[in-house]
Symmetry: C2
Subunit: 147 residues, 2 copies
Amino acid sequence: MSQSSRKILSEHSVSITNPRILVLEALLDFGNPITIDELQLKLGGSVAKSTLYRVLNDLKKINILNEFTSPDNSTVVELILEDHSHHHHLFCSDCGEVIDVELSEEFEIMLTKEIQKVQKKFNFEITDHRVEMFGLCTDECANCKKS
Amino acid sequence: MSQSSRKILSEHSVSITNPRILVLEALLDFGNPITIDELQLKLGGSVAKSTLYRVLNDLKKINILNEFTSPDNSTVVELILEDHSHHHHLFCSDCGEVIDVELSEEFEIMLTKEIQKVQKKFNFEITDHRVEMFGLCTDECANCKKS
DNA sequence: TAATAAATGAGACTTATTCTCATTTATTGT
DNA sequence: ACAATAAATGAGAATAAGTCTCATTTATTA
């Protein structure tokens, strides 16, 4: 793990520093989209707040980090490595969990066609898209209030 | 216009006050998703900041206001009135404009099927979804930096 | 129109994120 | 391996979006 975080950094010609390794390892270890709050918890003060935000920005700049806002307004961050193909997000409105979801090939093809229509109609150059789904994990989730 | 904003409020059994009328009229007048910054500009100080946020929350509570975060992290707000059917959003990464987009019926049907698959796979109850598209308005947009 | 409950304005407060600057650490060329 | 240089870091100050408080005003109702 320590190995691969260093590799990621050097492959992107970013200098290898302790905070960067720690943040990358936390993200690799969690393996799912994570809120900045949770990430800070996981790091347990080993990286200064200002440095954490700087490191996240560095990772965004080299295009291996995706940042978005969940419906409950927390900032969520996720690594996008080579093996991490195009996907979408599923949010639990109760516990805030975020899950990566891949949709079928046929669906993506159809969506691409729709997007082409939208491009023409609005004279836009569309570079990216995502599907967000919201709901409740109906299961035995320990964090859900089950209200 | 003044007429319809009052009507909207009374139809939802919300008391008719000046700030509420002003905010609703600004939203109706703009007619598109609008950032809170722009909305404040449009209101030109006629409504106190704290009141603006309270009114927006009131409108959310009666389910006629949708709020989301744009890719550049500004909060965007839009009215959802009866005639405003299911739609998605197109964002310009340069000027920040947000446009409502309807996708084809066939696409929505296929998306519904995909969502059913996701529900089963993750044991989720999915209540809502949206498609977000990002790009650049290639046209003669006065606000785009054309960098 | 008076009584009551609800809404407002002004500004204090909170919290996420960014900025500053003195110090530390990584990189590089020898 | 080492010194010089540039880059990154930590600590905390600064900023800004959004919320809260409370005294005053406004809407509703009977």
